[in-house]
């Protein structure tokens, strides 16, 4: 596969939620329509002001957050317009909206989004067990989730479902039950993450006080292997550590991150990567709103990446893909041979059965997919 590095992926961070989920440490706050209006105005300004430096062809847009589905159609339209006015948007661009099931309870809603150009939905289901949704602090129940799934299935829409495994006290079978239920609605794409207890979250507080049940590594591993088996039988391709897609439905946008393509992020906490540096806007809506001129030093932190950083990032993001890393691609990009830098590491990992090396590439073995951190740290 030839990777086009003159394509650009756009990410928009909508920092609003009705409710903070217990596991989430992405930046989001509660805010009324007025604040949302101010934000959308600033966001469209940022989209416009940074366009001069971003001349590449946009092939994907991802409206994430936060809960972007709670924005009104007028707000979403304003955002889409500012992109269309300022960027060269490729014809078959993938345009994803992240959706909370509560916001998709009517068929009309989906049609409205479609009208705005949205052609892909990422639905945050997380679980189809009521007690698990409660533990995760989700603001919807399983009935709302099923309703949203039904609407998407009915429309044969291109949509993805997020599920979370490895909850405290969860058995592999609990998780697989949710997965089976979701499969009844034939999503094109499934992201299956295991829970990470992040700092500054409600779950972390409970975790620290010892109020949560154990998270079993064994059950997690079992759930992971079973998921892979079930989805493969159903025709999904396991293309990234946590992601599965029916043929032709891999997330073009997310592939940008793993294939080391440039991306631009707008909104507080959004990050951009131009193959040299990573720029992350400060995760604070007030700062974002106050710095109208968008002088990058005021709203963003910029990391200039050394060639070593770039190589490390390339390897540990690239190895997440089941296709692995192409040695030729590596050499083209960094003007050095992969094996010249990492011969010993690669041989060790191959010896441990964690990595597979072919004449053209390296990739994680099945065992390596489960123990990817052990592989990544070797390259750091």
């Amino acid at each position: 596969m030839v990777i086009e590095r003159d394509e650009l992926a756009l990410y928009l961070h909508i920092p609003f939620c009705r409710n903070k989920c217990a596991y989430c440490n992405y930046y989001s706050i509660r805010a009324g329509r007025k604040k949302q209006a101010l934000f959308v105005k600033e966001l469209t300004k940022e989209i416009k002001s940074r366009a001069d430096n971003l001349s590449a062809k946009v092939t994907s847009i991802y409206i994430g957050g936060g809960t972007p589905s709670l924005l009104t159609n007028a707000f979403l339209a304003a955002i889409m317009n500012s992109i269309e006015e300022n960027y060269f948007l490729a014809k078959n661009s993938e345009i994803t909206l992240e959706v909370n099931p509560l916001d998709l309870q009517k068929e009309k809603t989906l049609r409205d989004w479609q009208q705005l150009g949205i052609n892909r939905i990422s639905l945050g289901v997380q679980s189809l067990k009521e007690d698990e949704l409660n533990l995760l602090g989700r603001d919807h129940g399983i009935n709302e989730a099923k309703k949203a799934l039904a609407i998407l299935a009915q429309a044969d829409f291109n949509y993805s479902v997020d599920l979370i495994s490895a909850l405290p006290g969860q058995q592999a079978s609990d998780y697989l039950r949710s997965l089976e239920l979701v499969l009844n609605y034939s999503p094109k794409h499934i992201s299956s993450y295991n829970l990470q207890i992040e700092p500054n979250t409600e779950l972390n507080k409970l975790w620290q006080t010892g109020e949560l049940l154990e998270i079993s590594e064994e059950e997690d591993a079992k759930a992971y292997e079973k998921t892979r088996e079930i989805l493969t039988v159903k025709g999904y391709r396991h293309y990234e550590i946590s992601n599965y897609a029916l043929p032709g439905y891999s997330s073009h946008h997310n592939l940008a991150y793993w294939q080391f393509r440039p991306y631009a992020g707008f909104g507080p906490a959004a990050c951009s990567f131009d193959m040299k540096k990573r720029r992350c806007n400060i995760a604070d809506l007030n700062i974002y709103l106050a710095s109208a001129e968008k002088e990058s030093s005021e709203i963003a932190r910029i990391d200039f990446l050394t060639i070593e950083d770039l190589i490390k990032d390339y390897i540990f993001t690239g190895l997440r893909l089941t296709a692995g890393i192409s040695k030729k691609d590596f050499a083209t990009l960094f003007k050095r041979e992969l094996k010249d830098i990492y011969e010993r590491e690669i041989n060790d990992l191959v010896g441990q059965g964690l990595l597979i090396e072919t004449p053209n590439k390296i990739r994680l073995s099945n065992k390596g997919l489960l123990l990817a951190n052990q592989v990544f740290t070797v390259f750091l």
Partner: protein
């Protein structure tokens, strides 16, 4: 100054009962220290002392009040240093017994009262903190009566607010007897503390009991049998101030080009070469460390730095010992001896703080006396050095008398705790209506293994502990070895009672199982007595270790997380193919409650 005008006294108090604050007020009131120089707790010099609110080294200060010369000797406030306390008491004629009006008399204070009475000191009880809402003066007076001290003699004070302090000073004049005027006898001066600094060498804190000493005099230290020539003498104001002589009854310092504190130990008697005293002052003991632990630099390259730091520490601390040792698991390090657990903590903290060295310390051990099958006897302070069980005939271990003072509500659970730790009940007395004093004979090894923490938790912090050595008793002890991945880790071996070996082994393995990171292969953990495996746990192989979501800006953050994971591994000791973190070596200490 005439000896009749001298008053030598110390302050006895439990930690936090206000000893140092009272000392501060006395210094203020006698104008010994200008307000502007005043910092809280003047006599506690070390940062560590101020932070922990304890006195580690004895201090002395001379102050003038109404034509009298007061020598105040501040004593260490912890059982680890009870010998030092006894030497400080021996340097005085009187003692202020400071009691927190809200807390009442604690076990340790009782022990010190008896010590003071043994030295014939005049005791002036001071009921402090009377300003506190919870102050209960009546109760403290009842407690005093129980101890045979006339409560009518007690003074009331609030050192914090300065009330009653002047009265205390006046009472010192009238109640504390002056020293005996024995200037004409041969010199006998008691060393009650000493410290080292690199410019002046050893500075001895002395109380002249008989005779006098002047600069230029040739002196003889009777215990260490060393001769020196006096360079300088003087008093503490509290800064050192030169004087032309120190005579019987006086307290001050002496410098004589002594290069090593071990030649000028606490309790030694100084006399003159030309007119030697026939006998030294009574009570000298060669203090021996009671608790031993291995100290290893986390980074092997720090070995030399650690050695230098230990040498420097020893210059100031004759009670602390160390010698080189090697561990198969930990590499090159030192076997260090301490007076007790607090002393050990203090040394460890000073090493990390003042010398910036990261240490791995092995679980503390007492000194065992072994009789071997071949008749040979041996003292061993390192479990790793125990001979094979078949070579050992008997093992004796040090016992202590533990005195615990606590509110009666907790008697049941505390007695249970003592018995779980092989304590033998010997006595119970009521200090007052609701406070009880328990006495147990216990193996010292149990005391140094988390006993104090458990005591605090069983009594919600209200129990206090004091202990004193009781000599050796034979016990049915065994060495419990820990094997990680079939390999014996010498630094994890411990000595336990045979009856407890299996339980302790199981608990310890459970803890190690959580502490030692999982590897890609299963790692067996075993506890063994000789070749006999008594417990086993398996650290399961890693099944899954994956960072999940990894998008966009997250990439930098995730890289940092992965880098941290890698760094963490570097800080562990790699033994065979398993990484053992520092906590593992101390896991033995936290024995938990067996549940």
């Amino acid at each position: 100054m005439s000896v009749n005008k001298i008053r030598n006294f110390c302050i006895i108090a439990h930690i936090d009962h206000g000893k140092s604050t009272l000392a501060d007020r006395i210094l203020e009131l006698t104008n010994t220290i200008e307000d502007r120089e005043m910092q809280e707790q003047v006599l506690d010099n070390m940062d560590l002392e101020r932070e922990r609110g304890i006195t580690i080294k004895a201090q002395a200060v001379s102050l003038d009040y109404k034509g009298y010369r007061f020598n105040l000797i501040d004593t260490p406030g912890h059982v680890d240093f009870s010998y030092e306390v006894s030497r400080s008491l021996a340097a005085c004629e009187g003692a202020l017994l400071v009691i927190d009006a809200a807390q009442g008399i604690e076990a340790q204070t009782v022990a010190n009262i008896y010590l003071a009475l043994e030295h014939d000191l005049e005791i002036i009880p001071v009921i402090n903190k009377i300003d506190l809402p919870a102050a209960d003066v009546k109760r403290v007076k009842e407690q005093l009566l129980e101890l045979g001290i006339d409560p009518a003699e007690a003074l009331l004070a609030s050192a914090k607010e300065g009330t009653g302090v002047e009265k205390i000073l006046d009472e010192i004049i009238t109640r504390v007897p002056p020293p005996a005027p024995e200037e004409d006898l041969p010199l006998k001066a008691l060393v009650f503390d000493s410290l080292y600094n690199s410019y002046q060498g050893v500075i001895a804190y002395i109380r002249v009991m008989t005779g006098k000493v002047v600069p230029g005099e040739k002196i003889f230290l009777m215990a260490s049998e060393k001769e020196y020539e006096v360079d300088e003498i003087g008093i503490f104001t509290p800064e050192m101030k030169k004087t032309s002589q120190l005579k019987a009854g006086e307290v001050g310092y002496l410098m004589a080009g002594i290069k090593d504190v071990r030649n000028c130990k606490v309790g030694d008697t100084i006399t003159t070469v030309n007119n030697k005293a026939a006998e030294p002052l009574p009570g000298y003991q060669d203090v021996k460390p009671m608790v031993f632990s291995g100290m290893y630099p986390t980074d092997n390259d720090d070995y030399e730095v650690l050695k230098e730091a230990l040498e420097k520490l020893q210059l100031n601390d004759a009670a602390f010992t160390f010698e080189a040792e090697t561990s198969a698991a930990l590499g090159f390090g030192f076997r260090c001896g301490f007076l007790g657990l607090l002393h050990m903590e203090i040394v460890q903290e000073r090493l990390e703080r003042e010398f910036n060295i990261n240490l791995i310390m092995t679980a503390p051990s007492v000194v065992y006396q072994l009789t071997l099958e071949n008749g040979e006897t041996k003292e061993i302070d390192n479990p790793a050095e125990f001979p094979a069980p078949s070579e050992i005939s008997t093992i004796a271990e040090p016992y202590v008398t533990a005195t615990i003072s606590l509110p009666e509500d907790y008697i049941g659970s505390v007695m249970e705790l003592c018995e779980d730790n092989r304590g033998q009940f010997s006595d119970m007395t009521y200090i007052d209506q609701n406070r009880v004093q328990l006495q147990y004979e216990m193996p010292m090894s149990e005391i140094i293994t988390d006993f104090f923490n458990q005591l605090k938790s069983k009594s919600r912090g209200y129990a206090t502990l004091d202990y004193e050595p009781l000599g050796y008793q034979e016990s049915d002890l065994v060495k419990l070895d820990i094997l990680v991945n079939k390999e014996k880790i010498d630094a994890l071996s411990i000595i336990v009672h045979r009856d407890k070996a299996e339980v302790v082994g199981r608990e310890l393995l459970k803890k190690l199982k959580d502490i030692i990171p999982r590897k890609l292969f299963a790692v067996p953990l075993q506890a063994a007595i000789g070749n006999n495996i008594v417990a086993r746990e398996d650290i399961k192989a890693r099944k899954k270790d994956v960072l999940q979501k990894c998008y966009g800006g997250d990439v930098s953050r995730k890289r940092k997380l992965l880098e941290q994971q890698k760094e963490g591994k570097k800080r562990m000791k790699q033994i065979g193919s398993v990484d053992i973190p520092q906590e593992a070596f101390l896991a033995v200490l936290e024995r938990g409650n067996g549940d």
